[in-house]
């Protein structure tokens, strides 16, 4: 159901610019208004989201410690997985964000009747996630060639690295098709894997929402239209660059001669951008604010203050002694206040509180 909904939603999203530009020629709408609206939504949305998170304080220092604490000099501590200072936290966060450290720990439960339980090697999710995110990043950076003039050196470098298959490994270039970018293929592969595991692993299917399928399909549509455009339905790149530069320099133009396929691709991107702040995709920003990862485990030696800390009602020693004084005296325990006539009060300390002893174990 949630799968179907997402498929239909993406199909409709593809049809909108197809009809809009292909039949109605609404180039201004899809080439200028929608992109600006999307970008605006993205920035406003992300800022609101992050500010919203940041407005709530972090009352307690709750890092998940994943290694030995800092203790004696003769015990080797793990400064990254159990950071004790900012330097450690920065390293830990770098490992998380750049290498997906926590996901790398992943194992797979192998349950055999008996029971015999083992935890098997499972790095595919980590690998697919890493490939997916880095491919996306490279593709994003490659696209800067459309938005920057002159094109920075690193974009050229990325392009040539990414396109190294061009060097004759794949014979496609002979057919009038440009060199294949590695990241295009990897992205599609990774997205397909991430989708298939949601379908094939029963638990994954069970937990998946539309909100999980939808971005996958959206990105798939984005990638496929991009590939179609690059390899099969060529568009006038000079005109595309003209449009893109128009957008970034705030002198928008909608040149002639750009195929509908470009507008579909571009619209997919706009939808993704606009959808970003309102979806699970905000994990990109959220990870930086995750209190189990971005705090050092130092609350035993550096005081952490809770901004909303408030006084609470406690049971004081005086109240305690008041209730048990006679018994304490009888047992030879020291007391703060000696009663004047201990004998008379000996039986007055009735059990006022919970009668039942919790110790049933």
């Amino acid at each position: 159901m949630s799968l179907l909904f997402s498929v239909v939603a993406v199909v409709i999203l593809v049809l909108i610019p197809w009809v809009g530009v292909g039949a109605l020629d609404l180039r201004l709408l899809f080439g200028v208004i929608v992109p600006y609206a999307a970008i605006l939504t993205f920035f406003v949305g992300i800022i609101m989201r992050v500010v919203g998170w940041a407005r709530s304080p972090v009352p307690f220092r709750i890092p998940t410690t994943a290694g030995q604490q800092w203790s004696f000099p003769w015990i080797k501590s793990n400064p990254v997985d159990n950071p004790r200072n900012t330097r450690g936290v920065v390293l830990r966060m770098a490992f998380e964000i750049l290498l997906f450290r926590s996901l790398f720990r992943n194992t797979r439960l192998e349950f055999r009747q008996g029971p015999k339980i083992t935890y098997e090697w499972e790095k595919w999710l980590w690998l697919a996630a890493l490939v997916f995110h880095y491919s996306f990043l490279v593709i994003f950076l490659r696209h800067l060639r459309f938005f920057l003039d002159p094109i920075p050196g690193f974009v050229h470098l990325l392009e040539s690295l990414d396109g190294f298959l061009q060097m004759g490994v794949v014979p496609l270039s002979g057919l009038g098709v440009p060199g294949v970018y590695l990241t295009d293929m990897l992205l599609l592969l990774a997205v397909t894997y991430l989708f298939l595991r949601r379908i094939y692993i029963p638990q994954m299917r069970f937990i998946s929402l539309s909100a999980d399928y939808f971005p996958l399909f959206l990105i798939l549509a984005l990638g496929l239209t991009g590939i179609l455009m690059r390899y099969f339905l060529r568009v006038d790149l000079t005109a595309v660059k003209e449009l893109a530069m128009g957008l970034v320099t705030f002198r928008p133009k909608t040149p002639e001669g750009i195929g509908v396929i470009f507008y579909i691709h571009f619209f997919m991107l706009c939808v993704l951008i606009a959808y970003f702040p309102f979806s699970k995709l905000v994990h990109m920003a959220g990870i930086f604010l995750s209190p189990t990862r971005n705090l050092s485990n130092n609350s035993r030696f550096v005081r952490h203050v809770n901004p909303w800390n408030y006084p609470v009602e406690v049971h004081t020693y005086e109240e305690y002694e008041e209730e048990f004084r006679d018994k304490m005296i009888e047992a030879g325990l020291p007391v703060e206040k000696m009663p004047e006539t201990p004998e008379e009060e000996a039986d007055s300390a009735e059990e006022a509180g919970p009668k039942e002893e919790a110790a049933k174990e």
């Binding site: 220092r61 709750i62 410690t65 604010l289 995750s290 030696f301 325990l333 919970p354 039942e356």
Partner: protein
């Protein structure tokens, strides 16, 4: 445990969720053996918790206040504003499923709603409905749903099937911590008087008598003096603990389970012997009948209750005028001390930075809380050769070590206990690496779930741990499971009997007590349990 199915039956677990049904279409079914009893009114009343009444989770009517929905949602809003963790964790989950098979309750039970991701989704769905635009408009399609009495019951059922062990949070690429969600979820349930008896009774006891078990001061002293007699019988040495003594240098606080039930009591004897041994070397320590609990079941109720119960540690240290506090072997006690105590009830500026009076070691890592873990303390003593030890007295046992969840993942207390165990035992073997240290598996009964009525849940939740013990039991002949947690000591014996018969349970300081050579002791023939020492078996028979 008569009503718990046999291990062979219980082990037939299916981890596949239903094929076609969505989880929102599976109404909660509150099962005997899984759910705990509801909190009793007098215990809620004693500490001023809302909606005290007789109720049972197995009844249709939970006797909720009229405006329960309002209270719940207002409570949620308040907590979203107070805890960034909750807000972020509600928003950023991508349901990658990495956490799913990391939870001991899911592994041992197969209930799909025990996958950590789904446990959180139970609350997230309500959050979406109330606080996100998509959730308001799209409803179910956006994974949102309204809170109804049935949904509330579902929340209750699953938040009290989580031991807050944080194993899932270790594997989460964003560090989403189910413990945090459960802790705050339980706070919300407590606003409606929906605690379990096994938590609310210890909380009320602890508030009144200073400890969970409701041990009154004279009884507390009696119980420890009972150990003093036992120690004298075994070693010929009479140890002399002091109580509520003003002017002592150090205050000792340990979970009350250590003075109450086997095998924790033997660990308690270990503490007593160690303190006696160190007396001549300059240790000046006192016990307290008021701060007579290290653990904190308030932590399983709400942050506020945790703070209220924790307050007596510093209060008693201040009253007695000690310099610093030494803490016993306990699990969640140490998460609270490490990550909460100073923030709750600090600054402890009336105390001094802890220094070992015997070795002169400064405990720099406890500079602010002023509270040292006894295993750290002992490790330092051993490192400095201050203890005369005879590890061969522990030769009849083959030991493995269970890292308790909270010291492992809420502190990083991994090497210290291993160092001590290896110093006092000759036969030590680790369990498989995916089940120890930061990846350790919960005992299955933490966070207040160590009741009697949820024994099936406990046996299920403890299965992954037991399975790892079984592995070393069969491979290396391990017959002793060591741990540094009072709940572990209470719950592992039945768990081991159920899954791995032939493995006993011990605290680390029981092993220390056995190996420690006291001045003027007689020749020991038995260990602290009264069992013959290696090589003494025949003499016992005479």
């Amino acid at each position: 445990m008569s009503d718990v199915p046999k291990p062979e039956e219980l082990a037939r677990i299916d981890h596949r969720p239903p094929e076609l049904k969505g989880w929102m279409d599976m109404p909660v079914e509150i099962k005997q053996g899984i759910a705990c009893y509801g909190g009793k009114p007098q215990n809620l009343e004693y500490v001023g918790l809302p909606n005290p009444r007789e109720w049972s989770p197995f009844d249709e009517d939970w006797k909720l206040p009229e405006n329960w929905k309002e209270i719940f949602l207002e409570g949620l809003r308040e907590r979203l504003e107070r805890f960034r963790s909750l807000k972020v964790f509600m928003d950023i989950c991508v349901r990658c499923g990495a956490c799913a098979d990391k939870c001991h309750f899911f592994i041992g039970g197969g209930d799909p709603k025990n996958m950590p991701v789904l446990r959180a989704e139970l609350l997230r769905s309500i959050y979406r409905r109330e606080y996100t635009t998509a959730g308001k408009i799209l409803g179910r399609l956006a994974g949102a749903r309204e809170i109804t009495v049935d949904v509330l019951k579902e929340l209750w059922y699953y938040f009290f099937q989580c031991t807050e062990c944080r194993r899932c949070s270790l594997f989460c690429p964003y560090g989403i911590d189910t413990a945090e969600i459960t802790i705050l979820g339980r706070e919300l349930l407590n606003l409606l008087g929906l605690n379990i008896d096994w938590i609310s009774a210890p909380v009320a006891n602890c508030y009144r008598t200073g400890n969970h078990l409701g041990i009154q001061p004279h009884a507390y002293k009696d119980m420890i003096e009972f150990f003093v007699d036992d120690i004298e019988e075994i070693t010929g040495v009479r140890v002399e603990p002091s109580f509520n003594r003003k002017g002592a240098e150090i205050l000792f606080i340990t979970p009350s389970g250590d003075v109450f039930a086997d095998p924790g009591t033997y660990t308690c004897m270990g503490y007593l012997m160690l303190f006696h041994y160190l007396q001549d070397l300059g240790l000046d320590i006192t016990w307290s009948t008021f701060a007579s609990e290290g653990g904190n079941f308030g932590y399983f109720t709400s942050h506020e209750m945790a703070k209220r119960l924790n307050a007596k540690m510093y209060a008693e240290a201040k009253r007695l005028g000690v310099k610093w506090i030494l803490g016993g072997e306990c699990g969640h006690m140490w998460r609270v001390i490490n990550q909460y105590m100073d923030t709750f009830n600090g600054p402890a500026d009336f105390l001094e930075e802890p220094v070992s009076p015997i070795t002169g070691t400064k405990f720099e890592n406890a500079k602010s809380t002023k509270m040292v873990h006894i295993v750290e303390f002992t490790a330092d003593l051993i490192k400095h050769n201050k203890l005369k030890l005879d590890p061969s007295r522990n030769d009849n046992i083959v030991v493995t070590f269970h890292d308790s969840c909270n010291p492992a993942r809420g502190m990083g207390f991994l090497e210290e206990p291993r160092y001590v165990i290896k110093s006092v035992c000759n036969h030590f073997y680790e369990m498989p690496e995916n089940t120890i240290r930061e990846q350790t598996f919960c005992c299955g009964s933490g966070a207040g779930l160590n009741a009697g009525e949820d024994m099936e849940l406990r046996m299920r939740g403890g299965l992954p741990r037991a399975n790892a013990v079984k592995h070393v039991h069969e491979k290396h002949g391990v017959n002793m499971l060591a741990c540094i947690c009072a709940i572990d000591r209470a719950v592992f014996p039945p768990l081991m009997d159920y899954w791995v018969p032939g493995v006993n349970v011990t605290g680390v300081h029981e092993l220390v007590g056995n190996a420690l050579i006291l001045d003027g002791e007689q020749e020991r023939t038995t260990n602290l349990r009264g069992e013959p020492l290696p090589g003494m078996e025949e003499e016992e028979d005479v």
